[in-house]
Each structure stands twice: as structure tokens, then as C-alpha cells.
Symmetry: C2
Amino acid sequence: MAPDTPLVVPEINPGDVKKHHGIIANPNCSTIIMAMAVWPLHRMNPVRRIVVSTYQSASGAGAAAMEELRTQTADHLAGREVVPRVFPHPVAFNLFSHNTPIGPDGYNTEEKKMIEETRKIFHSPSIAIAPTCIRVPVLRAHSESINLTFERPITPQEVRSILSKASGVTVVDDVEANRFPMPVDASGQDDVLVGRIRQDVSQLDGRGIELFACGDQLRKGAALNAIQILELLTTP
Amino acid sequence: MAPDTPLVVPEINPGDVKKHHGIIANPNCSTIIMAMAVWPLHRMNPVRRIVVSTYQSASGAGAAAMEELRTQTADHLAGREVVPRVFPHPVAFNLFSHNTPIGPDGYNTEEKKMIEETRKIFHSPSIAIAPTCIRVPVLRAHSESINLTFERPITPQEVRSILSKASGVTVVDDVEANRFPMPVDASGQDDVLVGRIRQDVSQLDGRGIELFACGDQLRKGAALNAIQILELLTTP
């Protein structure tokens, strides 16, 4: 992909759609889900650092990968040998580091995309991001554990208030019922679900927030975002 | 548990076994797995902050929970309705925030244990820890994505060298083969597996390290650790 190819998430950088030279790219699905949760906050109080760990479903690797998860799981339950074909490692009742190539800095391609694409979409080349991308035996929808450091102090109440008004985000944060974003609830939804919103107890200056997000990367992470880009392009 | 009840991980704080007043506690399994990976480094260069996200298996909740994961998964594959009984949410091909009660600070009991027990075992009351505990549809062995900030700069080479000599730890960090710690490899093992060792690109002062650990919480997280405590108690 050419370095000047625009990556567009319509809720975040709609104006970038005009910068294209024939090609507009859909950002990586893990990047989109994180960006949807973080952007509304970043607009109000710049995010300086993100530590993110992903829980990526099989569907991110396509229909054959989803079928492999189903088949391998059935084989495992029946006591048959599990033979990986699409993924390099067993996926049934297992998890593994994202199987993209790893660079000399120790980060894999999926993790590098989360860094570079977020910086590009946010127009924030200096935002510090530490991603760990992990594949889990979930059929559909990616989840992400996100630890944020802001420029200025911020409270969970402010975060909840900002996210509850954000387009494309639904806050699911029911402490009483212990109900937070889950892949089964995110699957088939256009919105990215965000919850577990709390002040990070490890950052004593009040600039830390932790949250957990879940989004259907077949919807907002791929098809829906592409349709929204097309709508932007065709709207006069 | 009384506040002066010792929590012992024999590789880390064997001397604490003598402080008991009739009771010695086995630490929480998520705590033990993180402590095994971090302690050898903390001894050489004090850890100031830990951001950790867990990928906890069903076995941490007992045999009935493992059976529920198997049964629900078979039901899901057969197109039957999935009915949660042991866990409050569906576990087949899904994941959810650890279902322990959540305090006014937004952290659940499992996360609080990871903070308080680590501080106690390390004798480091000020170490800053930001945990997120998540249950995943894995039968056995817990995984943890761990982001560390040290007092002084440290390199991945140093980390690898220290951990490769540490008792109870095996380094699994094959970048060429894209092979890192996985629950299927950790299951039934006494050692905690550690890999994805890399300099954290989000900490420009060289004090950041990222790693991924995996340990069988039925072995090191429970039975093995308890036996090792007994051995310490009965050794003259």
C-alpha cells in the first residue's frame, strides 16, 4: 500500500476520503475497533499512550478459519486428532500469538498495523502504542483490553459520558449484573461495544483509564466501514 | 484470609513460609503465573508498573466449568440452545470479563488479588499494577499479556538471559517458527512458559518490556505450588 493511500474510518477522519489518488484503504479490523473506542476520548483529551491486548476471533482470518475452528473443536470433543490446516497451531480450546511475520523489533505485522494505522487515522504521528495481538477460539467479533494514558486527568464518569454520545459506540458497562462487552453480543452489530470503564489504579496522577471493547470485525471492521466510505465518496 | 497469612511461591519468597500462624495460603493462580514470569526480572531491575490482561481458562473455575465449556460447545456446534449454568454468560466460542464481584473502584476481585498478592509476595507494596481479567473458551492453562516498566533500562536480550536461567520458567520464543507460549503446550507442565519478549516501542526510554506467559494453573497455579510449600515446611 502506498504511504499516501488514505485509511478512512468515517466517524473519525471523513475528510481524508478526499485525499485519495484512486485508492482508499479500509483499515485493519483490530485498528478500527480500538479507534472507535478511543477516538471520541482522544478528541476531548489527547491520548498519549495505549497498551492494548487483543482477543481476535477466527472470522478475522476468513470463512475457512471459522470452519477450521468448528471442525477442530468437534474433533477435539470426539477425541479425534486435531490437525491444523488454515492456522499454523491448534485453535480448538487454545489460543496463540497472531501468526503474521515478526519484524526485527519483535512486533508482528498485525501489531504494527495497529500502531501505524491508528497514528494515520488520528493524525497523531507521536501517539505511543504497545499492542499484543492474540488469536482466541471465538467464532466472530474481536475484543480488546485497552489501557490509556491521557494528556490531562480524566474520570470514568467523563469517559462514560463522552462514549455514550459517540457515534458508532454503545456503552455496555453494567457493574451490578457483571455484564460487559462480549463477542456474542457484538456479533452482527454495527456498533463497537465498550465497557469495564475504570480509573487505572496504576497511574496515580489520574491520567489513566482502562476499558474493554468488542466489535464485529465483519461489520464495522470490514463491510460496514467500506460502505460508509463509499457513502462519503458518493455524497455531494 | 487474615492480612498476615503468608502467601508463598517457593521460587520467590520461600522464607515467608516461616511467618505462618497455622495457615499458609496458596496465591491466586493468575497471580502465580505472572509472578513466576516477572520475579526473576524484578530481582535484577525493580519493576515499577505492570499492565496485564489475562486469558483465563475454564479449569480455573473447576471441573464443572470445564464440563460446561465442553457441553455448551457441543450444543453450539449441533445448533442446540446454549444454556449457561456454572458461568453467568455463554462460554462456548465467547469470552467475558471475570465474573467476580466488582468494587467501587471498578476492579473485580480477581484483579484485586493480582494487585495485592503480587505486592505481598514480592514484598513491594508500591508496585503499580493494572490488571484486566478475562475468561476465554480454553479448557486448561491461563495466558497473560504483560507490559512492564522497569526502574532502569533493560533489553530483550537481558530478559531472555535472565528468564532462561530462572527456576520454574521455560522461554518459548521462536520468532522464525512463530511459536510462542500456548495453553496446549503449557497444559500438564510444571513450568510457566514465557515468550514474545520484546522492547516496548511505546516506552522510548528503554525501560519497557512486553511478554506473553502461559501456565497450567492446575499445576503451578495450584497443586504443584501447594506441594512445594509443603516441602519447604517439612525440610529441616
